[in-house]
Each structure stands twice: as C-alpha cells, then as structure tokens.
C-alpha cells in the first residue's frame, strides 16, 4: 500500500466512524464505544510492547488505576471529572516507575511475569480495600460535563472516546517517529548496541512503560464515568490478555494495525453472539489460524519493519549463550 492510499483509507475510516452513530442503534454504538476504549488501550500497550519490545501481561492494572482514581475522587470527594485526569495520570506514572525501575533490567519474559503478578495484586487490592468499594466496586459515579453540557447519552460518550482515540493515535504515531521512538526501536532491535551508542536503556524503557501506563489510566478514567459503575471484575487477567490480543492481532508497532485489532477483538465475539456458547471456541480457533498464516498481524508496520520485528521478538527465544 502506498502512503497516499493509506492516508485516503484512514480518512475514509474516520468519516465512517463519525457517521456511525447516525446509522447505528444503541447496541452497536455501545460495542463501538467499547472498541474505541480498546483502541486507546491498545495504543498505550503498543508503546510498551510494540515500540519498546517489553512484554506486559498486566496492563489492565493501569486501566484500573485510572478508573478507581476517578471513581473515588468523584464519589467520595466530589471532584470534577476533568481534575481527576492529571491525578490519575500522575498515579499511573508513579506505579509505572515503582514497578518498572527494579524489573526493567530483567529479561523480557521475566518482565512479563512481574507485570502479571502486579496486575493480579492491583485487582486483589481493589477487591479487599474498602476505599475501592471492595468486591461490588464503586457505583453512582456522576457524569462529566463540559461548560454546562453534561455527557449523558451513548452518542456523547462515543464522540468523547472518538476524540480521545484520535488524539492518542496522533500522539503515539508522532512519538514513534521522534528521537525517543527511534531510541526505543534501537533498544528493541539490539539492546547492547543501543547502549554502546549512548542510549540509557533503563531510562528509555521506564519512559515507555510510564507513557503506556498514563494512556491506560486515562482510558480508565473515561471508562469509570461512562459505565458509572466499576468493579474489580473488569480488570482481570483476561482483560490484559484481550488488550494484548488487539495489539498482536493488528500488528506490533503498527498504529493502524492496533486500531484494527482493537475493533476486531471487541466486534468478533459480539458478532458471534448468535453462536452462543461456541463463540469463544470459534474465536480461539481464529486466533490460532491467524498466528499460523499471518503472524505479523493484519496490518503490519510495513513489510520491511515487520521482518525486523520478527527477528527482534524472536531474539529472546534463542537462548544462544554467544
């Protein structure tokens, strides 16, 4: 695909996304809104996994940090929604550093396990602490408003999410092309060479991890006000896996690919709803077939780059002691 066709395709998709609420019913609009959440979460995780090559199996933890920060600050302390955003972002970045600093020196698969453990700990804390409403979570979270216009309908939240998704996509793609993005790619391809060239690899990894955490937590904030009730069940290990699926399905490191993957991860099981109990079975089979016949993702980050990624991700798999 040439750059022109890609651009055209993106514009067409955006137009379709804007027009969707006027042709769809509430159910599909809700599915689409959920898909947009996954687009944002997927982009956040894409920075961590796709750009910096760090496997994160507990990404839903940051989603939870955002959702609970907003939920608690709004219901207990009566804050305005918009004020909770910077607090959530700061908290998430803080957690990212606390978890990342000691572990980012580790091998990538160990990092995966630590993040998995961290994700579970956050979920169990949410179940057990009284401030997070324990198992039933927080409900009755007020709706946000912009200058007197309250967000209440499905359409409002759809458009809010669409705007956020576009902003995040723009930010992530700029980031990917920036100096920092190139440093991440370098670390991902060859850590030692990157360090030899003067890149502080732990600092750069920490940056990737924290930026991913901030994006995840922002999605969580909006999730809290959209659902108006949050519970620990929404932040389970399965949630982290589904977000990771979106990233891998679409294509690691590819902005458009991850967006497509996010939409598919949400839309496919919903479409298969008529298949009742068979739907996750079909979904599982589709995953396997996809990985066997098109492992680089549906919309890889360019053929050449994809080949590089294969090498990079495969690097850890070789336990060659040199």
């Amino acid at each position: 695909m040439g750059p022109k066709t890609t651009k055209l395709l993106r514009l067409l998709l955006l137009a379709a996304a804007i027009l969707l609420p006027f042709v769809s019913n509430n159910y599909w609009l809700d599915v689409a809104t959920l898909a947009l959440f996954y687009v944002v979460l997927g982009q956040g995780l894409n920075i961590v996994v796709g750009f910096a090559g760090l496997l994160d199996l507990g990404y839903a933890a940051f989603f939870a940090v955002g959702a609970y920060t907003t939920g608690i600050l709004m219901t207990v302390y009566g804050w305005s929604f918009w004020l909770t955003l910077p607090v959530a972002a700061l908290l998430a970045a803080g957690f990212g550093v606390v978890i990342g600093a000691p572990t980012l020196r580790l091998r990538s698969d160990y990092l995966a396990i630590v993040t998995l453990g961290f994700g579970e700990i956050i979920r169990i804390l949410a179940i057990n602490l009284s401030i997070t409403g324990s198992a039933s979570g927080i409900y009755g979270i007020p709706r946000p408003a912009i200058g007197g216009y309250p967000f209440s309908s499905q359409k409002d939240f759809y458009f809010l999410m669409l705007i956020i998704a576009c902003l995040v996509i723009a930010a992530v793609s700029r980031l990917g092309r920036s100096r920092i993005g190139r440093a991440w790619a370098y670390i991902r391809e060859d850590e030692d060479a990157a360090e030899a060239m003067g890149i502080d690899r732990v600092r750069m990894k920490l940056l990737a991890y924290s930026i991913g955490a901030i994006i995840g937590s922002l999605a969580g904030c909006v999730f809290a006000v959209k659902m108006s009730a949050i519970a620990p069940l929404s932040f389970s290990f399965m949630q982290s896996i589904m977000i990771l699926l979106a990233v891998v399905l679409g294509g690691l490191g590819s902005i458009s690919g991850v967006a497509l993957g996010a939409v598919l991860v949400i839309a496919l099981p919903e479409m298969l709803r008529s298949a009742e109990e068979w739907r996750y079975l079909i979904f599982g089979a589709a995953l396997i077939l996809m990985m066997i016949y098109r492992p680089q993702g549906l919309w890889p980050a360019g053929q050449e780059q994809a080949a590089d990624e294969r090498e990079a991700a495969g690097d850890g798999a070789k336990s060659v002691p040199m």
């Binding site: 580790l106 995953l287 396997i288 336990s319």
Partner: protein
C-alpha cells in the same frame, strides 16, 4: 503447634498439585521458551476425561472402583491427554516454532479458549461430582490429621517427579531434551530429531498435568471447565519461583508456594494470600531472577 503441623500438611498436598503442573510449564519453557497458557487447561481436561472413564468403570457411580480400577483410569487418562498434548503441539505450536515469541503466546491463548469452551460444550457448564469417594481415615497426631489419601497423593506426585528427573538426567531422550534447550540448531545438526523430542516433551508435560487433574478431581470431588485457569496461573508462579526451565526447581517451587499460601491464609487471612504469593514472586524475580534453583544465565534479554 497442631495448627502449625496441620498447615504444613495442607501446604504439602496443595503444593504437590502445583508441582505436577509446574513441571509441564517448566519443561515446555525450557525446551522451546513458550509460556504455554493452555497448560492449566490440560489439567482440567485430565480431570474430565478421568471423570468420564471412572463413570464408565463404576457404572455412573453405582459400583465402587477398586484400587486397580483407579490406577488404570489414572494411567489411561494420562496417556490420552498426553496424546492430545502432542496433537496441540503438532497443530498449533510447531508451525510457529520460528515465529516471534508473542505470536506463539497468542496461539497458546487460542488453544486455552478452545479447550475451555470445548469442554463446556461436551460436559456442560455445571460442576460435576466425581463418581468416587475416597477414604477419609488416616493418622492423627495431637489434633493434626493426615489421611491415607493425602499420603497417596504426595507419594504418587513424588514418584512421578522422581521418574521424570531420572528420565531427563539419564535417558538418551532426556539428554536430547537438554541439548535442544541449549541450542536447537546445533542439536538438529547433531542428528537429533528436534520435532520428535519436542513432541515427547509435550506428551510428558500434558500427562503429568492430567495426572494432577484426576487426582485433584478425586481428592476435592468436583470439577468444572474453568478449574484449570487459576491453578495454571499458580503453577506458573511456582515454576518461576523455583527457577523456570529447571525441573527440581518446579518441584521445590510448587511445594513452597503451597506452604506460602496456607501460611498466608493462617496469618493474614484468605483474601490476602494471593497478594502474598504474587509479592514474593516479584521480590524473587527482582532479587534473584533465576529463581531459587535456577542456573545463572548470562544473556540479558
């Protein structure tokens, strides 16, 4: 004092299950560096196939299965699930051996979804009660109890683990496995049939998980299609705790995790025991990333 002894016994029993499952994780990881997420579901599948076989033997729970019957069912289930494990490797993992590690991880999630939902379609969503009542008698020392069943479970687990250890250390196939874990390409150049050895690894791992599944079904009495998920996660933790890729490590890790959990329940209460287990996991990974018995690894990625 009683409480302490009892906690020790409780921890050993649950630890034995963790160890058996952790072995499969560790073997597969050691040899092809795959976090096999579907492994816990093989444990579940073992429990269900054992359930169906036992129902056949006992005529839907009417008659009693003798000790011999139980042993036959256990071995048969282990074989069947072992073959299923090989099939999974052949269909889902082998084509991806050279692909990026993430794609094979996703495939494992796909396999897990298929196994869980397939089992639900075959056996139903409800809890099934095992057609078997194990004796509840045993020894009692000063308030603490140790039943024959518990002893049998620990003994069978130790036997299976010791057998595996001997096999990997001393047989020619074990040697091949260790060679592949070190360097796949070089092993293949030395004339080792890499695919066959990997298939064998899957067979053994799946069979051990299935054995644990049948024993857990018989011991606890109920099974359902989601039972593999949480225990898979725990066994995985155990494998890491002991040093992933290391067989004795998986055994030690499993037993240790069992003890940590029961002690955590006693001291902090049931709601916090998982936090304790996962915190210890993180601390160990940060301070001694190779686990308790792991070998020193020089590579940094």
């Amino acid at each position: 004092m009683n409480t302490l002894v009892q906690t020790l016994i409780d921890g050993l029993v649950i630890g034995a299950f963790y160890s058996l499952i952790a072995l499969g994780y560790t073997m597969v990881f050691g040899i092809i560096k795959l976090l096999n997420f579907a492994h816990g579901d093989l444990y579940m599948l073992g429990a269900f196939i054992g359930y169906s076989l036992l129902s056949l033997v006992t005529g839907n729970g009417e008659g009693a299965a003798g000790l011999l019957g139980i042993a036959v069912v256990l071995l048969l289930t282990m074989t069947v699930v072992g073959v299923i494990g090989m099939g999974i490797e052949r269909i889902a993992y082998r084509p991806l051996l050279l692909a990026p590690r993430l794609s094979i991880l996703i495939t494992a999630i796909g396999v897990s979804l298929i196994l869980e939902n397939g089992s639900m379609a075959i056996w139903g969503a409800q809890y099934q009660v095992y057609p078997l009542q194990l004796p509840q008698t045993g020894w009692s020392f000063g308030g603490a109890q140790l039943t024959y069943t518990q002893v049998a479970i620990i003994a069978i687990s130790v036997l299976l683990m010791a057998g595996l250890q001997l096999f990997v250390r001393h047989s020619i196939y074990g040697k091949a496995m260790r060679a592949i874990a070190l360097d796949q390409t070089a092993s293949s150049l030395m004339g080792i049939d890499v695919h066959r050895v990997i298939a064998l690894t899957f067979f053994i791992g799946a069979a051990l998980a299935a054995g644990a599944g049948v024993m857990a079904g018989a011991y606890y009495g109920t099974i359902n299609f989601m039972m593999g998920f949480i225990i898979g996660l725990k066994a995985f933790t155990a494998a890491v705790l002991g040093g992933i890729g290391n067989l004795p490590g998986a055994m030690v890790g499993g037993l240790l995790l069992g003890l940590i959990e029961t002690a955590g329940t006693l001291v902090l209460g049931g709601s916090w025991k998982d936090v304790v287990a996962f915190s210890i996991l993180i601390v160990i990974l940060v301070c001694k990333p190779t686990g308790i018995l792991g070998e020193k690894v020089t590579e940094r990625m």
